[in-house]
C-alpha cells in the first residue's frame, strides 16, 4: 500500500492553554477563555494572529469560529471546518487541520476547544439532545433518547457502564483493573501544578471505596467536569522549520468508525459492545505513520470512563482482545518506570476535562520534551480521542530529527 502522502508533512507548531478549573470556578466567559487559548497558541508558534487563515473545531464548540476570527483580528479565512461530535473530535480536528495545510488549502490552521460546563449544561446531568442542541430535560423526550431516558439511562456514565459490565462478563475484567487507569492518571497529575487534581493523589483503595456512580463505575472511573480552553496551531512542516519551536510532526492521523457502528449504538454489531470501536482507526493510523504499537513511547488516551480506555488499548493492538485488564494493571502505565506511561498531565480524569483536547496539548509537550512527567527521549506519542464514541479519531505525533 502506498505511503500516506501527508506523513510528517504537517506539524503542530504552537500550543496555548488557559487555567483549568473545576466546573463553575472560571471567573471569565467561555468565549474569553477560547480567545486566550488561541492567542497563546499563536504566540507560542511565533506567528501573528493575522497569519491565521483556517480554523478547525468540534461541532459542539460554542465559541464559534466566525466569532473567534472576528474577535482576534485574523486575516482572510480560507478554511473553516467542524468535526462532528464531542470528545471523539479531539484528534479529528487536528487531522482536518493537517489535511487543510497539507493540501495547500490553508497555511496556518488553529484548532481549539473551549468548554465551561459551569456556564452551560453539565454533561453529568440529564439533558435532552447533545452538543449545541442540548437543553434541560422536559416533560417529554423524543427521538432516540425516548428509548433510554424514560428507563433511567440519562448520563454518559450510565451508558458507558453497560459496556464495562459486558467486558467484565466476557473477559473477567475487574473494577480494580479499571481503577489502575485512574490511579495512573492521578499519579501523573501530582507532578502537574496546572491539574485540577494536583495535590490530590489517589490510591487503588480509595478508588475502590469511592461511591458508585453507575455500577461498575465508581466516582474515580469518571472524567471530571471542568472549565477551560486550549488550542494548537498546525502548519506545514516546511514552514514549521522557521518557527519558534522544533516542529512536532503529525506522523499519522486517522478518523472514522467501524462498519455497523454509528449513531444508534443499540444497533451496533454485538462485538462492538466490548470494543472502543477504534480497530479500523488504529489500523489506518499505524499504516499512515509507518509505526506499530511497539514504537509508541507514551500515550494520551481520552478517558471518558476507565473501561473505555482499557478497551482502546486492545483496539490499538497493545494487547489482545479481552486482555486489557491484566495489561493496564501491572504498572506499565506509570511514569517514570512503566513501559507505556498514560496521560502524563493527568488527562481528563485528573488534569481537566477540556473535552480531551488537553490530551493533544500534552502530546505536543511530550514530543517537545516539556512535560512535567517527561518520558525520556520520547519519539512517538499516540493520542486517542473519545473511545466508544464513533466517529472517533487518533494521532501519532513524532519528534523531528
Amino acid at each position: 500500500m502506498e505511503t500516506w502522502p501527508l506523513r510528517d508533512r504537517t506539524s503542530i507548531v504552537g500550543v496555548g492553554e488557559t487555567e483549568y478549573h473545576k466546573a463553575g470556578r472560571a471567573t471569565r466567559s467561555e468565549f474569553d477563555l477560547a480567545c486566550e487559548a488561541v492567542r497563546r497558541a499563536v504566540e507560542d508558534a511565533g506567528l501573528a494572529l493575522s497569519d491565521v487563515d483556517g480554523l478547525s473545531v468540534y461541532s459542539g464548540e460554542r465559541s464559534a469560529p466566525g466569532s473567534v476570527a472576528q474577535a482576534l483580528g485574523f486575516g482572510d479565512l480560507r478554511f473553516v471546518n467542524l468535526y462532528p461530535g464531542g470528545g471523539n473530535s479531539a484528534c479529528g480536528v487536528v487531522h482536518n487541520a493537517a489535511l487543510a495545510v497539507g493540501s495547500g488549502t490553508a497555511d496556518v490552521v488553529v484548532v481549539y476547544r473551549s468548554i465551561c460546563q459551569g456556564q452551560s449544561l453539565r454533561f453529568g446531568r440529564a439533558r435532552e439532545g447533545t452538543g449545541l442542541g442540548a437543553k434541560a430535560l422536559g416533560r417529554t423526550i423524543g427521538g432516540g433518547q425516548a428509548f433510554s431516558h424514560p428507563f433511567g439511562l440519562m448520563s454518559p456514565a450510565q451508558s458507558y457502564a453497560l459496556e464495562a459490565r459486558r467486558h467484565m462478563y466476557e473477559f473477567g475484567t475487574t473494577s480494580e483493573q479499571f481503577g489502575a487507569i485512574a490511579v495512573a492518571c492521578y499519579a501523573h497529575a501530582q507532578r502537574n501544578p496546572r491539574a485540577v487534581m494536583y495535590g490530590r493523589p489517589l490510591t487503588l483503595e480509595e478508588h475502590q471505596q469511592s461511591r458508585v456512580i453507575a455500577d461498575p463505575y465508581h466516582l474515580y472511573d469518571c472524567c471530571q467536569e471542568s472549565d477551560g480552553a486550549c488550542a494548537v496551531v498546525v502548519t506545514t512542516t516546511d514552514r514549521a522549520e522557521d518557527l519558534r519551536h522544533p516542529p512536532v510532526l503529525i506522523a499519522g492521523a486517522a478518523q472514522g468508525l467501524a462498519a455497523g457502528d454509528g449513531g444508534d449504538r443499540m444497533r451496533r454489531p454485538l462485538d462492538l459492545w466490548t470494543s472502543a470501536g477504534l480497530v479500523p482507526v488504529a489500523k489506518d493510523l499505524y499504516r499512515r505513520a509507518g509505526v506499530g504499537p511497539d514504537d509508541i513511547d507514551v500515550v494520551q488516551l481520552y478517558e471518558n470512563f476507565t473501561g473505555q480506555v482499557l478497551m482502546a488499548f486492545e483496539d490499538f493492538g497493545f494487547c489482545a482482545r479481552g486482555e486489557g485488564g491484566p495489561f493496564v494493571s501491572d504498572g506499565k502505565l506509570h511514569w517514570p518506570d512503566g513501559a507505556l506511561p498514560l496521560n502524563t498531565s493527568g488527562g481528563n480524569l485528573a488534569e481537566a476535562y477540556i473535552h480531551g483536547f488537553n490530551l493533544v496539548v500534552e502530546g505536543v509537550r511530550q514530543i517537545r520534551g516539556h512535560s512535567t512527567a517527561q518520558v525520556r527521549d520520547a519519539e512517538h506519542c499516540l493520542v486517542v480521542a473519545g473511545p466508544s464514541a464513533p466517529p472517533s479519531s487518533a494521532l501519532i505525533l513524532r519528534r523531528s530529527r
Binding site: 453529568g124 446531568r125 440529564a126 435532552e128 430535560l137 422536559g138 416533560r139 417529554t140 423526550i141 423524543g142 427521538g143 432516540g144 425516548a146 428509548f147 433510554s148 431516558h149 424514560p150 428507563f151 433511567g152 439511562l153 440519562m154 448520563s155 456514565a157 450510565q158 457502564a161 453497560l162 459496556e163 459490565r165 459486558r166 462478563y169 461511591r211 458508585v212 456512580i213 453507575a214 455500577d215 461498575p216 463505575y217 455497523g260 444508534d264 443499540m266 444497533r267 454485538l270 459492545w273
Partner: protein
C-alpha cells in the same frame, strides 16, 4: 391516571419524562399503549431493527412493517445506578437499567428495567419476560421481570 393504576405506581416517579412519538416512532409507541412490543422489520430482506430507523442497514430499503415480539429474552448487559442525575430517579436509587436481547425478532437489543430485581439480583444471561408499566399521560412502557 385511573384509580386502578394508582394501586401500582409506575417504576419511576411521575416527573420522569415520557416518550414523545414522532413520524417514525409513532407505530412503536402506539403498540406500547396496547401493551404490544413492536419491532421494526424490513419487508424486503427480513432484517429486524431496534431502535427504529427510516432505512434498513442491511439492504437500504425504506419498506418495513412492525412485528410483535413475545418479549422473552436474556440480559445482555446492565448497570446499577447509584448516583441520580434527574429528580425522577432521586427516590429510586439504586435502580437497574438492563439491555435485553430478545429471543425472537432477530435478537435485537432493547433497553429497559427489571422491575422485580434489587441491585444484587441482576446478572448477564438472566432470562427475562415482558411486563407493562402505565406511566400516565396515555403512555405504557415495556419493562421486564425474571422469567420463571
Amino acid at each position: 391516571m385511573t384509580a386502578a393504576d394508582q394501586t401500582r405506581p409506575s417504576y419511576f416517579a411521575a416527573d420522569m419524562p415520557i416518550p414523545q412519538p414522532d413520524r417514525l416512532t409513532e407505530p412503536f409507541w402506539s403498540g406500547c399503549r396496547e401493551r404490544r412490543l413492536l419491532i421494526q422489520h424490513c419487508t424486503v430482506c427480513g432484517t429486524y431493527r431496534h431502535l427504529p430507523s427510516d432505512v434498513c442497514s442491511n439492504c437500504q430499503s425504506t419498506e418495513y412493517d412492525w412485528v410483535e415480539s413475545r418479549g422473552d429474552g436474556t440480559v445482555f448487559t446492565y448497570t446499577i445506578v447509584w448516583h441520580s442525575v434527574h429528580s425522577s430517579t432521586n427516590q429510586k436509587i439504586p435502580y437497574n437499567v438492563v439491555v435485553v436481547q430478545l429471543d425472537d425478532c432477530g435478537g435485537v437489543l432493547v433497553m429497559s428495567n427489571l422491575v422485580d430485581c434489587g441491585p444484587d439480583d441482576v446478572r448477564v444471561g438472566l432470562p427475562v419476560e415482558l411486563t407493562w408499566d402505565d406511566v400516565g399521560d396515555d403512555m405504557v412502557l415495556y419493562r421486564f421481570q425474571r422469567r420463571s
